[in-house]
Symmetry: C2
Subunit: 596 residues, 2 copies
């Protein structure tokens, strides 16, 4: 069974959950038909071009020889098609040569491409981040030379943060940048875990590299950002000499076998030529712009893996005949008829829907933030996105691994055999809770910055939205009894735990960090429950409208029902985990309980 | 870091949690020193011989050519050492040539060997199961010819159940057995997923094959068991002609790359020669003896994977320096100092301890069952083992995947790189919730047979044991306040849910099956909490005894404390999941809620 873009799901969400016109302020570009024809076209590209290379790419992997990386068969051609059709630049501004699509339209395309071929899709995603950073802080000269070929996809981009001693602790980086009389810098050092740090898809690779100037302050306040091209670029835009950097090895990984993870050595011959981007010692702030965008993209990769896994599991469950029902023991049935398989399918479906709905409300806020003329409104949307970023990144990616694991389980023994492809989805998905900041890092960001530093401002916005949905749902108090009551309980848990965390504050930060991950998961489950209820309300409102098949509307109600009974039920356990440490904080510091 | 047998853990459990002398009735064999010297020796074999082949075996994998399977380099030699030293037969009766060690002594050896090299260790485990089945129901002639070389390890054994159309539904098998005038049978059919169905470790392979006699009743009541050797065996025990069966392919799998998973075709040349084992049409009962033993072994593989993952994660967490603490930002610390890493380490440690403790009380019951002269007592122990088998198999294996995933998470980006070995543990562990009956199958066994059919008899035994521990713990009501109260709550949840399930009975079986997995997990978490409390009580009792380091005793208290605050907290969520379906059973059948 080949991957199919989830167009019905997207149609419901874009029409019922979010307000595309209001979010973008453009009613011409975003008329229904145009959006759907873009998505249909993207879906065809995903199914026809990207997915056929997914398993072969995983099996063949990459070849590394003499500092060069050869991607699997077909990748070069697919990349050429991608860029010729402009799929690599759908979300980039039109003034840069991109398609200028709003987040609400471009995010689902990211999902589709990542579902079809996660490893391949990473290259264009990283390039987009690099383009945004250059556009934000690059000099006119740099922008003039670099942006056009990068937007066109002839050159790709990378993020160079990690070093052997500097992973989650970016402040520990040692790569050095020595100023030269001509205004350039000599860069030397080693970077590891650089995705698409070397490959054969494009003519040039533009590395954005964090490094330290001489006499820079220690830690994160002494880091600057440099643009370091693989091939130097002459003033006329033509490629010049090879720069002094090389890929010395690639990793042998658990998953995303077709995505090169490179160790890059800069300056073996005296120093790679680099160009300062933005202010000296202010590199981390710029990198964080990229990083936050990348975190949302990784969350979207989670949605993508879950959707791909769900499609395979559903197809298998309805095709595989095994066992019978008690009422008719002589007739073999598809395993989708068996209760526990149905439980798993419902869990996968409702969770994937909640993940995608979360992606959509974040994209809507991003669009509102960018389109609004009202500074205060724009700031509010930004605050909401900031709050949701760690929740979405961590919760959606942890959920993706779980959904992929359930897809293996539904396949039984066949799930452990690589040819069905679900094992690959599980392996590929496992990087998502790690890269661009682990789940633990996201959870610390949530409690330290988004709750404590911001005094719960973002959370209040979220809570207000949830309350609005709860009010609206009263019109369907009977049909949605359980989703409403379970969400009310979950919201109480979320608010109660958040209040305690804020009350403990910095003095209790150690105890808080012990339970920051369960708290984040509690928040993720609750937000998912809010969105499933919102979708169910819309589905009930749309009954009889002939816009959707009755079965479609009913399925949204079912998802809310299941989600509230199963995934919101977990909130009770998560709340206990949190309170079991916060309640005794004074009497029994977590540090004592967690001694090891 | 190389694997080390968890001897300190085992020393505490064997001395404090169980009563080896009482369980086996033998005080000579099982004097402390002998047991520990056996375990030390086994640990040396695991560390010195088995583990060095683990990652190379995973990387090299198997070669399949012309129907033959070549195991990775070193496996043939290691297997020879294993059998020469008698490690393959530690649990087999002395009268068969085995070492006759009780379960309490042999199970930890299974754990060690599987921790060190899960793929390799499967071969001897399967052989042991086949020996037990032959010994149970084989004719004198069969036993005479086959048992000695199998116990010696010169020949190995397999279980042949699965066929393409018959996985979880064993009743659907089609392999045929035609009686011959000489008393043998001609076997023809195809079997899939046969572990070690073909390999180069031994001279002969003895397949135990489920097949149907002509005119056998349909379904599970028409299945017979046959012994089908790869090479026919002459009356003098020498190998004769090659039998008419061949390995036609092996699977390309997610994990256990060094364990051949074979498709076997029987009877391509007219029929493989087979020998009936036991009564016609009664094959499934015999196979279930093997299967139940295999389920416990798979649960033990879960313990093994968790221990291996924990050792790697702990070593990495104390070695990897990254970031600093708030109170001293200028000093980098090992990541084990960071709160979320400690949470993960404590979760892994306490869960692994609970899993191993569960294995030990099951092994104790097996020993009591076999050693007791009192039939009623023996039956009680059997009932307890029967109840615990699905719980241990499913809960310990699901836990193992989770613990292995946490080991990846603690390693950060390095966890996704295959060279650290944690990715392999995660991949290898993923088969455990699938083979020998999926988690869903175990959960159905628990609710359908162990609760409903047996009217909760096994559960009462379990509850009584838990209550005894709760009583005993009152002597430490202050020190163990939280572990006690959390276990009391969890026990109430377990009993409450079980009562509802039994009350609903067969009429509500459909609703029950929707939540059989959450119910099983609730039971597993609760049993783990019982055993962690029991260990903590023993640790507090042993204070000042000089038998253990104070730190060791304290670590058991810590594990109980953490487990009660974290893993028992999950019971609240699991209970909600169960009750959310059982409570409304009449008003809203689960089948409606789970419609898809």
């Amino acid at each position: 069974m080949s991957y199919q873009a989830p167009l019905d799901e997207l149609r419901f969400l874009i029409n019922e959950l979010v307000d595309l016109e209001k979010a973008t302020g453009k009613n011409d570009l975003v008329s229904d038909d145009l959006v759907f024809s873009i998505w249909e076209e993207a879906g065809r590209f995903a199914t026809g071009v990207l997915e056929p290379l997914n398993r072969p790419g995983d099996c063949e992997g990459l070849r590394f020889e003499d500092g060069e990386v050869k991607t699997p068969a077909g990748f070069v051609g697919a990349y050429r098609q991608l860029t010729e059709m402009g799929w690599n630049s759908v979300g980039l501004p039109e003034e840069l040569g991109g398609q200028g699509l709003p987040w609400l339209v471009s995010s689902p395309i990211t999902e589709m491409f990542s579902s079809a071929n996660k490893a391949f899709n990473m290259c264009a995603g990283l390039t987009q981040g690099a383009i945004e950073a250059i556009n934000l802080i690059g000099s006119a000269y740099i922008k003039e030379l670099y942006l056009e070929p990068m937007v066109a996809g002839r050159w790709t981009g990378t993020m160079n943060l990690t070093e052997p001693q500097a992973g989650s602790d970016v402040g520990a980086i040692r790569t050095r940048a020595i100023p030269q009389p001509d205004g350039t810098y000599r860069i030397s050092g080693q970077k590891i875990f650089i995705s698409f740090g070397e490959h054969d898809l494009a003519e040039n690779i533009i590395h954005l590299v964090l490094a330290r100037l001489p006499d820079a302050p220690e830690g994160v306040r002494g880091i600057s950002l440099f643009l370091v091209p693989k091939f130097l670029v002459n003033d006329d835009g033509c490629l010049g000499n090879r720069n002094d950097l090389q890929c010395v090895s690639i990793e042998h990984k658990l998953g995303i076998h077709a995505s090169p993870t490179c160790t890059l050595v800069f300056g073996d011959q005296g120093g790679a030529t680099g160009y300062l981007l933005g202010e000296p010692n202010r590199g981390l702030a710029a990198m964080f712009v990229m990083m936050n965008a990348a975190r949302l993209t990784v969350g979207m990769e989670g949605v993508a893996s879950a959707e791909a896994a769900l499609q395979k599991a559903r197809a298998y469950a309805f095709e595989r005949v095994q066992g019978s029902k008690a009422e008719d023991p002589s007739t073999a049935v598809a395993i989708a008829e068996h209760e526990d398989v149905r439980r798993m399918l419902m869990l996968m479906t409702s969770r994937t829907r909640a993940m995608r709905a979360m992606a959509m409300v974040i994209a809507e806020a991003q669009d509102l933030c960018e389109s609004s003329d009202d500074t205060a409104e724009s700031a509010r949307q930004h605050t909401f996105v900031s709050l949701m970023t760690p929740i979405f990144k961590a919760w959606a990616t942890e959920s993706a691994v779980e959904v992929a694991s359930l897809a293996i389980q539904i396949h039984g023994g066949m799930g452990f055999v690589e040819e069905t492809g679900v094992a690959q989805i599980w392996r590929d998905s496992r990087i998502c809770p790690i890269y661009e900041g682990t789940t633990g890092i996201q959870a610390n960001d949530l409690v330290s910055r988004k709750l404590l530093r911001d005094k719960g401002e973002g959370l209040s916005l979220l809570v207000a939205k949830i309350r609005t949905t709860l009010q609206e749902s009263q019109a369907f108090a009977t049909e949605l009894r359980k989703p409403i009551s379970a969400l009310e309980e979950a919201l109480n848990s979320l608010e109660g735990c958040a209040e305690r965390i804020i009350a403990l504050g910095d003095s209790g930060i150690e105890n808080i960090r012990f339970i920051s991950v369960p708290f984040l998961m509690l928040a993720g489950n609750t937000v998912g429950g809010w969105l499933m209820l919102q979708c169910a309300v819309r589905a009930l409102q749309a009954r009889g409208s002939e816009r959707y098949a009755e079965q479609t509307l009913e399925s949204w109600r079912q998802s809310a029902e299941f989600y509230s009974r199963y995934t919101l039920a977990e909130v009770h356990g998560l709340e206990r985990q949190v309170l079991n440490y916060l309640e005794d904080a004074a009497a029994a510091p977590a540090a004592d309980i967690f001694r090891y």
